[in-house]
C-alpha cells in the first residue's frame, strides 16, 4: 500500500518514487530538469552532519537539496 510523504522525511537508505510536485517555481523546474520527475525512483543516501541538506540518488547520480526544498516534493514509499 503506497503512501505519500515529503521527500525530506525519508530515512537513510529508503527508496521511493516521486509522486507529485508543487506547481513549479524556477527552482523546482531545475529539479525536474535534473531528472527528478513524477515517477522517478529516488533513494535517500544521507543527511548532512548538521541535519541539512539531504543527499539523494536519482538516475544513477547523487544530488543534494535542502530540506526546505525537499519537503515540497511528495514521494511514495512502497
Amino acid at each position: 500500500m503506497a503512501s505519500s510523504v515529503p521527500l525530506s522525511t525519508l530515512t537513510k537508505g529508503t527508496s521511493a518514487v516521486v509522486a507529485s510536485y508543487p506547481k513549479s517555481g524556477g527552482g523546482f523546474l531545475r529539479l525536474r530538469e535534473m531528472g527528478v520527475l513524477p515517477g522517478t525512483p529516488v533513494t535517500l543516501i544521507r543527511v548532512a552532519p548538521m541535519g541539512d541538506p539531504i543527499e539523494i540518488k536519482v538516475r544513477g547520480y547523487h544530488l543534494t537539496l535542502r530540506k526546505s526544498e525537499a519537503e515540497h516534493v511528495l514521494v511514495e514509499v512502497s
Partner: protein, 714 residues
C-alpha cells in the same frame, strides 16, 4: 537587431563557412570532463579572457585536424540546461542562440556527455539538438561506465539521433583521433531526432516561433528551439552584453505565461517531462546495464567524508592544510619578491641620475609592480588547491557539510572557502567566489570577505598590542586573547553584514541548493596547473593594472609638493599632499582619538594595511622598522608611547590603541581589494559601496569605543 541577423547565417552560407574552417562550441554538464577534453583537443593553444560585462571565463582554443587544418573551439561554461539559472549558464545559452555581439554564433556544436550518467547529460543535448545545428556527440568516460557495468551502444545512438557519436576517454586521449576526424568532416548531418511537444503547448510554440522569425530575425529551426526554451526559462537569468528579445516577442511570451499561470497544468514542467520521456526511449535502446549496482569507491569515500565525526575531521584537516599553505608556504616567495623589489628600487636609485623620474621608477612603478606580484604566491597556492578540490569532487562535499551553517546568514555552503581564504588575503578569497553560481550569494560573499582579518592587518595588530600594553608583565595570554578577539570581531561582522545584505540589498527568492555530488576522480596535474596559471594571469592583467596605477598616485601624494632638500623625512611627509590630507582628516578622526599623524598612517594603508607600520615609523622619525614583520618594533613603540597631543596628553593610550585596532578590523583600506572587487563585479559601484559601508562601520565602532571608554575614565 541587425547584429542578430548578421550572425545567423543562412544554411548555405554556413555550409560554405564550414568548408573553410568551422567554429566549434564545446558544451556539456559540469563534471563531465569538458575541460579535460578541451585541453586534449587544443593543447596549450588557448586564450582565456572574459565575456565583456560578465565575470564568466571565456576560453577559446585552436585544435588541429589530422591534416593540420586549424579549427576554432570555444569552451562554453558547464551547464545542466539552456534554461539558465546562473550567469555561467546564461552565457552558454546566449552564445548558442547567437544573442551575444562579442561572440559569433558557433557553426557547429560539440556536446560532451558523461557516459556513467547518460540520461541527465542527454537532457542538455536534447535541448541543443532542437537548435538545428550540426552536432557531434562525445560519449566521455566510457571506461568508467564499463567499470560500473554500463554498456552504451554508440552506433545505435548514432543511428537513432542521426549525428556522429564518438566514444571517448578524454583523460588518456582515447577517441581523440576519431573525434578530430569527425570534426574535420566538410559536412555534418543535422539530427533527425524527433520528439513530441505536448499538444496543448503547440500553439504557444508556433506563436513565439513566428514572432522570432519575423521580429528577431531567426531561422525557422532555431526560432522553434528558442520558443521552446523561452517557454521553459521562467527564471529569466539575463547577463550584460546579450541581445534582448524584440518587444513584440516578449509581449507574446508574457501573454502565454500569464495564461498558463491561471491553469492547473504546469506546462513548462510538461515540456521537461516529454523531453525525459524521449530520452528514456533512447536510453532503453542504447544503454545496457549488467547486474546490480554495487558500492562504488565514491560511496565508500563519502561514507567517511560526510560522516558526522570523520567528516568534520576530514574537513578540518583539508581546511587547515589549505589555510596553512596560503599562510606559510606563500611567505618565503613573498619575502623574496619584497626583498627583490626593494633591491631593484635601490639599484635604480643608484644607477640613474637622481630626480623625480628615478623616484617615480623606483618608489612608484617598481614598488607598485612589487605589490601586484607580491600577491601571486598566495593566489597561485589558493587556486591550485581550489582546482584540486573542484576536480577531485571534494569541493561539493565541503559545501554539502557547511551549507547548514552558512544558510543561517543567507549564504550557501560554497561561500565558506572564499571566506576562509580571506583570512590570508581578501584578494584570492574574492577571486575564489567564482565557484558560487548564485549571483546574489556571490556578491554578498564578495562584500563581506574583506572583513575577515587578513594577514596584512597582523603587523598593525601586533604593533598596537605592543604599544597598548604598558609593560611586559602582562601575561602573553592577554595579548593573544586580544589578537583573537580582533579576528572574532571581524568574522562576526562579516556574518552580520552578510545576513543584513541578504535581507535588504540582495533580497530575492532564496536560491535552491540543488547541487550535484560528482563521483570522486583523480585530477590530471596538467588540467589543475593550467587552470591555476590562467586564473593568476587574469589577475595580473586586469587587477594588476589598476593596482599599479593607484600605487603611482599614492607615491605622488606623498612626494609632492616637494620640500627643500634640507627637509627631514618628517617635514617632507608633513608638507606633502598626504601630510596635508592627514591634517584635513584630523577633525574627522579626532573623535576616535586619532591625530593627523595617525591620519597619514591611515592614508598610507591604502597601499597595503601593513604600510601603517612603516608610515608611522617615518612620521615619528624612527629608523629601521622593517615593515614591522620581523624587525624590532621596540624603538617605534617607545616613540609612540612618548607621542603627545599639543596639550601634552598622551596620544597612544590603551583606549586609542583599541579604537585604532577596531578601525583596522572594519575599514576598507586596501586598494588592491578595491581593484579586485571592481574586476569581479564589473562596476565601480560595489567597491565604492564597500569603502563606504566598511569605513563607515569602522568609524562608528571606533567612535563608540573611544567615547564610551573616555566617559568611563579609561
Amino acid at each position: 537587431m541587425s547584429s542578430l541577423r548578421s550572425v545567423e547565417l543562412p544554411a548555405a552560407a554556413r555550409r560554405a563557412a564550414g568548408a573553410r574552417s568551422p567554429t566549434y562550441a564545446l558544451v556539456g554538464n559540469p563534471n563531465c570532463g569538458k575541460s579535460t577534453l578541451f585541453n586534449a583537443l587544443t593543447g596549450l593553444k588557448q586564450k582565456v579572457g572574459n565575456y565583456p560585462g560578465v565575470t564568466v571565463e571565456k576560453k577559446v582554443g585552436t585544435a588541429y585536424t589530422q591534416h593540420g587544418q586549424p579549427l576554432t573551439l570555444i569552451d562554453l561554461p558547464g551547464a545542466y540546461s539552456l534554461a539558465a539559472r546562473s550567469p555561467d549558464e546564461a552565457v552558454t545559452r546566449d552564445v548558442l542562440l547567437g544573442r551575444r555581439a562579442d561572440t559569433a554564433m558557433p557553426d557547429r556544436i560539440l556536446c560532451i556527455v558523461d557516459a556513467t550518467n547518460l540520461e541527465r547529460n542527454l537532457y542538455l543535448v536534447h535541448q541543443i539538438l532542437d537548435l538545428g545545428r550540426p552536432v557531434i556527440l562525445v560519449l566521455n568516460m566510457m571506461d568508467l561506465a564499463a567499470e560500473q557495468g554500463i554498456t552504451i551502444r554508440a552506433n545505435r545512438l548514432e543511428h537513432a539521433l542521426g549525428i556522429p557519436v564518438i566514444a571517448c576517454e578524454a583523460v588518456n586521449g582515447k577517441g581523440i583521433i576519431e573525434l578530430k576526424l569527425a570534426m574535420s568532416r566538410p559536412d555534418l548531418p543535422l539530427s533527425r531526432h524527433a520528439w513530441e511537444v505536448p499538444a496543448a503547448i503547440a500553439p504557444a510554440v508556433a506563436d513565439l516561433q513566428a514572432s522570432l522569425i519575423a521580429n528577431d530575425g531567426k531561422t525557422p529551426l532555431s526560432a522553434r528551439a528558442e520558443a521552446l526554451l523561452l517557454l521553459t526559462d521562467n527564471d529569466e537569468v539575463r547577463v550584460t552584453g546579450s541581445a534582448q528579445l524584440h518587444p513584440r516577442t516578449a509581449e507574446i511570451l508574457h501573454g502565454w505565461q500569464r495564461r498558463w499561470a491561471g491553469e492547473s497544468t504546469d506546462w513548462s514542467a510538461a515540456l521537461v517531462q516529454s523531453r525525459y520521456e524521449a530520452i528514456a526511449r533512447l536510453a532503453a535502446e542504447v544503454v545496457h546495464r549488467a547486474g546490480q549496482a554495487t558500492t562504488t569507491l565514491t560511496d565508500r569515500i563519502d561514507a567517511i567524508v560526510t560522516h558526522p565525526v570523520w567528516g568534520w575531521l576530514t574537513f578540518g584537516a583539508v581546511m587547515a592544510l589549505l589555510f596553512y599553505s596560503i599562510f606559510t608556504l606563500a611567505q618565503p616567495p613573498m619575502d623574496w619578491i619584497e626583498h627583490g623589489t626593494e633591491q631593484l628600487g635601490d639599484w635604480l636609485k643608484q644607477s640613474l641620475p637622481p630626480g623625480d623620474l628615478t623616484n617615480l621608477a623606483s618608489d612608484g612603478v617598481v614598488a607598485g609592480v612589487g605589490a601586484v606580484v607580491g600577491f601571486m604566491p598566495q593566489i597561485l597556492i589558493l587556486f591550485f588547491f581550489i582546482g584540486l578540490l573542484e576536480s577531485t569532487g571534494y569541493m561539493a562535499r565541503a559545501a554539502f557539510i557547511m551549507d547548514r551553517l552558512m544558510s543561517r546568514v543567507g549564504l550557501n555552503g560554497k561561500s565558506f572557502i572564499p571566506l576562509l581564504s580571506s583570512y590570508a588575503c581578501a584578494i584570492p578569497g574574492i577571486m575564489a567566489t567564482r565557484t558560487i553560481e548564485d549571483p546574489k550569494d556571490r556578491l554578498a560573499t564578495i562584500l563581506v570577505a574583506p572583513l575577515m582579518s587578513c594577514s596584512a592587518r597582523l603587523p598593525v595588530y601586533l604593533l598596537m598590542i605592543a604599544a597598548m600594553v604598558p609593560n611586559d608583565r602582562v601575561p602573553l595570554a592577554f595579548k593573544v586573547g586580544l589578537m583573537l578577539f580582533m579576528y572574532f570581531v571581524g568574522t562576526a561582522g562579516a556574518f552580520v553584514f552578510a545576513w543584513l545584505f541578504k535581507r535588504t540589498l540582495l533580497k530575492g527568492a532564496p536560491p535552491l541548493m540543488i547541487m550535484e555530488l560528482p563521483p570522486y576522480r583523480l585530477p590530471r596535474a596538467k588540467d589543475v596547473l593550467l587552470q591555476m596559471t590562467e586564473r593568476a594571469g587574469i589577475f595580473l592583467k586586469k587587477a594588476g593594472t589598476i593596482i599599479l596605477g593607484i600605487s603611482i598616485i599614492l607615491w605622488a601624494l606623498s612626494t609632492y609638493p616637494k620640500s627643500p632638500a634640507s627637509a627631514t623625512p618628517v617635514q617632507q611627509i608633513e608638507h606633502s599632499f598626504a601630510g596635508r590630507a592627514g591634517h584635513i582628516l584630523e577633525p574627522v578622526i579626532k573623535p576616535l582619538g586619532f591625530d593627523w599623524r595617525v591620519g597619514i598612517g591611515l592614508i598610507s594603508s591604502f597601499a597595503a594595511r601593513e604600510s601603517f607600520v612603516s608610515a608611522t615609523a617615518v612620521v615619528f622619525n624612527v629608523e629601521n622598522v622593517d615593515g614591522g614583520k620581523k624587525g624590532d618594533v621596540t624603538p617605534l613603540r617607545r616613540a609612540m608611547r612618548d607621542a603627545r597631543w599639543p596639550d601634552g596628553r598622551a596620544l597612544f593610550t590603551p583606549l586609542v590603541c583599541l579604537s585604532l585596532m577596531l578601525f583596522y578590523v572594519f575599514a576598507m583600506q586596501c586598494m588592491s581589494t578595491v581593484a579586485v572587487v571592481k574586476r569581479e563585479t564589473n562596476t565601480w559601484r560595489w567597491p565604492l559601496f564597500q569603502i563606504f559601508y566598511m569605513t563607515g562601520t569602522a568609524w562608528v565602532v571606533s567612535f563608540i569605543v573611544y567615547q564610551a571608554g573616555t566617559a568611563l575614565g579609561f
